[in-house]
C-alpha cells in the first residue's frame, strides 16, 4: 500500500493532458524522464504573458516592457532562491541543459592546453559527452572516463585514482537519465576541488526530484532544463559561480550582452547579460518560475517520498514478470526503471504498450556507452512522476505482460 500525504487525484486534475485518451485507452504517461507534463498553473502563466504583457525586456520605457522585465527577473529570483544561489546574476537563462553545457565547454577553450584532462562519468547522456570531445579536439586535452559497475554506480575508488594535477574539469550528471542512479556528487565535487579541478554537474534528471543546494554542494556549474520539471521546453538555466562566470568569455555575440559597441571595440555587459545575447525566451523564463512555484507548493520532500514508494512498488511488480531484467539497481536512484525481457527487443514492447495507451521510452536513451557496457541494443524505460499512480503501475505491468505473451 502506498502511503502519501499528497492528494494525487487532486494533483492529477492540475494536468489537462492526463485526462486524454490514447488509442482508445486513458493515457498512462510514464516518459517523465524525457519530458514532464505541464500543469494548468504553468499553462496559465504562458497564456497570461501573451494576453497581457508580451513585450521585449530590459530596455523599453513603456509599461508593458517594464512588466515583462519585472516578471522575467522575478523568475530569475525564484530560481536563485530554489537552488539556494548567492547572487541572482549567477543564474544564466539558457535554452536548456544542452546549451548550458556547450556554453561552459566553449568557454573552457582558453583555459585548457595539451595534456590537460577532463573526467566524465561512464553514464553520461550524449549531450554530456560530445561537447567535451569537441573541447578536447580544439585544445588537445584528454577525455577520461570514470567507470561504473554492473549496478550502475560509479566506481569511486577509480574516480579518486583518476584525479591528478592534470585534471582541469570534472563532469558528471546528478542523476543518470538511462538508469536513474543518483550519483554521489558531494564527494565528487569535494575531491575534484582538492585536486584543483572545476566541476560541472548536469542536474537535468535530478531537478524534478531533488532540490539541489548550490551553496551546500559548492559546485562550480550546475545545469537544469525547465521541461523536465513541469515547465515549458526551450528554457533552462546554467548556474555558475561568480568567479567562473566572470572569467568565461561570452558564448554568443548579439544584443543584450553588450555595454558599448563601436566598430573598433565592444565591451561586454555585466553578468548575467554577458551570456544572454539577443531577445531571450521571456515567456519560457516566466513559466519556468511558475513551474518552480507549482512544484514547491506540493513540496519536494513529499514528492521524493511518494516517487520512491512508486519506484519500489513498480520494481517489485515488474520483477514478478518472468524473464524481466532491470538495468540500474543502484542503492540510490530516482523513479526510473530501465528493463528488458529476455528474448524480446525493447522496441517491440514499446510498440505494443503504446497501443494500450502507455507511453514509455525505448532505445538507447541517448546513452549508447551505457548500452554497450551492458551489451544490449537498448531498454524499455518507465519513469514515474508525482502525478502517476499505483493503478498506472499495474497497467504498465499488465501491458508488458500482454506484450510478452504476444511476442514470445
Amino acid at each position: 500500500m502506498i502511503e502519501t500525504t499528497l492528494d494525487i487525484q487532486a494533483i492529477r486534475k492540475d494536468f489537462p493532458i492526463l485526462q486524454r485518451e490514447v488509442n482508445g485507452h486513458p493515457l498512462v504517461y510514464l516518459d517523465n524522464a524525457a519530458t514532464s507534463q505541464t500543469p494548468q498553473q504553468v499553462i496559465d502563466a504562458i497564456v497570461d504573458y501573451y494576453q497581457r504583457y508580451n513585450a521585449n525586456i530590459h530596455r523599453g520605457v513603456h509599461t508593458l516592457s517594464q512588466e515583462a522585465t519585472d516578471a522575467y527577473e522575478a523568475a530569475r529570483q525564484k530560481i536563485r532562491k530554489h537552488f539556494n544561489i548567492v547572487h541572482s546574476h549567477e543564474v544564466i537563462f539558457t535554452s536548456g541543459t544542452t546549451q548550458s553545457i556547450n556554453l561552459v565547454a566553449t568557454g573552457f577553450n582558453s583555459f585548457l592546453k595539451e595534456g590537460d584532462e577532463i573526467l566524465v562519468s561512464a553514464m553520461e547522456h550524449h549531450s554530456n559527452i560530445v561537447p567535451w570531445q569537441m573541447l578536447c579536439e580544439r585544445t588537445g586535452a584528454v577525455l577520461k572516463v570514470i567507470p561504473m559497475n554492473l549496478e550502475g554506480e560509479l566506481v569511486m575508488e577509480e574516480y579518486h585514482n583518476l584525479l591528478t594535477s592534470r585534471t582541469k574539469l570534472v563532469f558528471c550528471n546528478h542523476v543518470s537519465n538511462a538508469l536513474g542512479t543518483i550519483n554521489p556528487i558531494k564527494e565528487i565535487i569535494e575531491a575534484a576541488h582538492k585536486a584543483g579541478a572545476a566541476v560541472l554537474i548536469d542536474g537535468a534528471q535530478a531537478a524534478a526530484h531533488i532540490k539541489a543546494d548550490m551553496q551546500a554542494l559548492d559546485v562550480d556549474f550546475y545545469t537544469v532544463s525547465a521541461h523536465k520539471m513541469c515547465g515549458p521546453t526551450g528554457v533552462g538555466m546554467l548556474y555558475g559561480k561568480e568567479e567562473w562566470l566572470k572569467k568565461l568569455p561570452p558564448y554568443q555575440g548579439g544584443g543584450e550582452m553588450i555595454a558599448e559597441v563601436t566598430f573598433e571595440k565592444t565591451t561586454y555587459a555585466d553578468l548575467p547579460h554577458k551570456f544572454e545575447a539577443g531577445t531571450p525566451n521571456i515567456c519560457g523564463g516566466i513559466a519556468f518560475g511558475a513551474a518552480l512555484d507549482y512544484m514547491n507548493s506540493i513540496g519536494f520532500d513529499a514528492i521524493a517520498q511518494y516517487e520512491d514508494e512508486l519506484l519500489h512498488y513498480a520494481t517489485e511488480q515488474l520483477l514478478a514478470i518472468d524473464g524481466l531484467k532491470i538495468y540500474g539497481t543502484a542503492a540510490h536512484k530516482t523513479s526510473v526503471i530501465s528493463f528488458n525481457i529476455e528474448g524480446i527487443h525493447p522496441y517491440d514492447i514499446g510498440t505494443i504498450v503504446d497501443k494500450l495507451g502507455i507511453a514509455v521510452r525505448t532505445g538507447h536513451h541517448c546513452a549508447q556507452p551505457i548500452m554497450d557496457f551492458y551489451k544490449i541494443p537498448g531498454t524499455v524505460r518507465a519513469s514515474f512522476s508525482f502525478y502517476n499512480t499505483k493503478d498506472e503501475v499495474d497497467k504498465l505491468v499488465e501491458g508488458v505482460t500482454r506484450a510478452k505473451n504476444m511476442l514470445l
Binding site: 524480446i344 522496441y347 504476444m406
Partner: protein, 140 residues
C-alpha cells in the same frame, strides 16, 4: 503476380482482422516467414540507418528480377520488412521503382509511416527502391 496484385492480396488478408492486436499478431507471424538474409550479408553496409531496431536487407538479381532477403532483431520490424519484401521481391527493378506504397495505409500501419516513428519504415522503403535503382542501371 504484379506488385499491385500482391499488395491487394495483403490488404485482403489484413481486412479480416477487426482490432490492432490481431493485426500485430498476424504481422509477427509474417515476420517468421521472412526470407532470411545470409549471415555473410549482415554487414554494416546492408544495415538500414534510422531504425531503433537493426534491419539488414540484401538484394541480388535472379535473371531480370530482384530478390530481397532481410532480417531484424525486433519481431514487429521483422513483420514490417516481411510485408514489404513480399510485395517487392521477385519483381523487375523498374516495377519496384514505379510501385506506390499506399497499401501500408490500408492495412492499418499508417502510423509507422510517420517520420517520428523510429522503426524506419520510410527508410526501409527507400532502401528497397535504392537497390532497384542501382540494379536497373546495371541491367541497362
Amino acid at each position: 503476380m504484379t506488385i499491385k496484385e500482391i499488395q491487394e492480396e495483403i490488404i485482403d488478408e489484413f481486412s479480416m482482422f477487426d482490432d490492432w492486436m490481431q493485426r500485430y499478431e498476424y504481422m509477427i507471424e509474417l515476420g517468421k516467414s521472412l526470407p532470411l538474409i545470409e549471415e555473410q550479408y549482415k554487414t554494416d553496409d546492408n544495415l538500414i540507418k534510422g531504425c531503433q531496431s537493426k534491419v539488414w536487407v540484401h538484394a541480388e538479381l535472379d535473371g531480370d528480377k530482384l530478390v530481397f532477403t532481410a532480417d531484424s532483431d525486433a519481431i514487429i520490424t521483422k513483420g514490417i520488412i516481411a510485408i514489404l519484401i513480399r510485395a517487392f521481391s521477385n519483381q523487375k527493378p523498374q516495377d519496384i521503382i514505379d510501385a506506390d506504397v499506399d497499401f501500408i495505409d490500408e492495412i492499418g500501419l499508417k502510423e509507422h509511416l510517420s517520420p517520428t516513428r523510429a522503426n524506419g519504415l520510410v527508410s526501409m522503403i527507400k532502401q528497397l527502391k535504392l537497390y532497384a535503382v542501382a540494379y536497373q542501371t546495371q541491367l541497362k
